[in-house]
Amino acid sequence: MWDFDMELALVIALGGLAVVFIILIALSFAIGGIRMLAERIEGDPDAEKKKDG
């Protein structure tokens, strides 16, 4: 019906999209971790501003 390897095409397409999602989700968790670390070291910038205000 088609003259290309449909199985390989599906693996590349679905696998590729899954990899993009997994990495960006991993990055968003990393961002959460970075935020917690930064707040522990420096304090919450929004809370500091409210305090100053």
């Binding site: 095409a9 397409a13 590729g16 999209l17 960006l24 070291i41």
Partner: protein
């Protein structure tokens, strides 16, 4: 000798060159008169004009045609001054004809009828403008632009360096403040894989389909990087499609958004102020981001590594000179080289093909499907979110930084004057740049 002195480009000039010069002129017109991506379209347009003036030689490569086996040279089937297409029979050796795998013209015929040749001996030197797979058809660049192209783009130097400058120009703040918008940047990569599939159905090879699909990532350097690695012979078409459609984002996104959202959804209000992101977060993100992405997809290292180091220059605050250079003169110099080279690949012989037309059509489908996937995914996310996001933000996940975000912002203001979506839209916008680099890295890793 005298003929050589009098030889002019008119001998080889044909309707294809005229058409390409008109296309080059059209791009220059769009850049100057309509202010559409002038930094890109003007040098690309002029590059097209330059390489379609025969005998200028700016994009020439030399290919040595070799005898496959020993024998006596029979008839020479092509005149030295004639232009021929690829797979043309050039010289008869015994009973077998030597076929040229490239188009072009013979610039040095080294044998004559009746002469004995050995297997592997060079029988003719052919000058061509064709981009070839160097492992199958090795050529030597001999023109200014072909040398720049070979050593700058085919060696993967210029596209990653452009990414370094993009990193220095990118503010990750909105994405760090609202990381869930990264999912929208991931969802729009659906357009890449959708176009990949369509290309396969159109009869393109896997490598070509990947290079066409990545147009939907809306990142010029990523498109060039992937195409140079997997299918260099279509690099002119993919790069021009990508840059042209990036310029046309204000025309492509609104109909897709309007078709997939209701007026009420487009009016969803989002608080204009995002949380403050500290300097430490902005410094740590490019380092952690590079480590995570490159460990998971090593083939994305040239793009992601340069992107993140450029961003670190920007955010660390102690190398302002480097950041400023990367943001200004460095990116300008790279842009001149890369755009002239891209224009240079668009000779009539390379560009006027059915496959170019198909690539342009699939490219626009790729952009539109990416935007559609982003919008639909934003609506899907709203099913689970207490504080709804405006689904138009999904369309900002078509990278084209910052144009797509601006388009979404302007549409948002039209629907609800109180809405200020620009900073929200920048989140998926820059996340999509990372997503496109990852998708490109996956293609290169699997097919390269």
């Amino acid at each position: 000798m005298l003929f050589g002195l009098l030889e002019t480009g008119f001998l080889y000039f044909y309707w294809g060159n005229v058409l390409m010069i008109l296309i080059g002129g059209g791009l220059i017109f769009l850049g100057i008169a309509k202010k559409m991506e002038p930094l890109l379209l003007i040098p690309i347009g002029f590059g097209i004009i330059l390489v379609n003036l025969p005998l200028g030689g700016l994009m020439d490569y030399q290919y040595e045609l070799r005898a496959k086996k020993s024998g006596i040279v029979g008839e020479v089937l092509i005149d030295e001054s004639s232009r021929f297409n690829e797979n043309t029979r050039i010289i008869q050796i015994d009973t077998e004809a030597l076929i040229s795998p490239v188009h072009g013209r013979i610039t040095n015929l080294r044998v004559s009828p009746g002469q004995q040749v050995e297997a592997g001996e060079v029988v003719a030197v052919i000058t061509t403008t064709m981009q070839t797979d160097q492992e199958e058809i090795p050529t030597e660049p001999v023109g200014l632009l072909s040398r720049l192209f070979a050593f700058g783009i085919m060696w993967h130097i210029l596209p990653p360096l452009i990414f370094l400058s993009l990193g220095a120009l990118t503010n990750f703040g909105p994405m760090l403040a609202n990381p869930r918008t990264m999912l929208l940047g991931a969802a729009t990569q659906f357009g890449v894989y959708f176009a990949f599939f369509i290309s396969l159905f159109f009869g393109f090879s896997f490598e070509e389909a990947a290079s066409i699909g990545i147009i939907g990532g809306a990142e010029g350097p990523t498109t060039i990087f992937v195409t140079a690695t997997l299918a260099p012979h279509i690099i002119g078409a993919t790069a021009v499609a990508c840059y042209s459609y990036m310029a046309l984002v204000p025309l492509i996104l609104p109909p897709v958004i309007n078709a997939l959202t209701t007026k009420k959804e487009r009016q969803i209000y989002m608080k204009p102020k995002l949380r403050n992101v500290s300097k430490l977060e902005k410094i740590l993100f490019p380092i952690c981001g590079a480590v995570i992405v490159i460990l998971l997809v090593p083939s994305s290292a040239p793009l992601i590594g340069c992107f993140m180091v450029g961003n670190l220059f920007r955010e660390c605050g102690v190398v302002d000179r480097l950041a400023e250079t990367a943001q200004t003169s460095f990116v300008d110099i790279l842009t001149i080289f890369i755009t002239l080279c891209i224009g240079g690949t668009m000779t009539a012989e390379n560009f006027i093909t059915i496959s170019t037309l198909s690539i342009l059509v699939i490219g626009v489908v790729s952009f539109a499907s990416a935007a559609a996937a982003g919008v639909l995914f934003a609506k899907f996310m709203n099913l689970f979110l207490k504080e709804k996001i405006n689904p138009m933000l999904g369309a900002a996940g078509v990278s084209a930084v910052p144009m797509a975000a601006r388009v979404v912002h302007v549409m948002g203001q039209k629907e609800n004057k109180k809405n200020y979506l620009l900073m929200h839209a920048m989140g998926p916008n820059v996340a999509a740049a990372i997503g496109a680099a990852i998708a490109g890295g996956v293609f290169v890793g699997v097919l390269g």
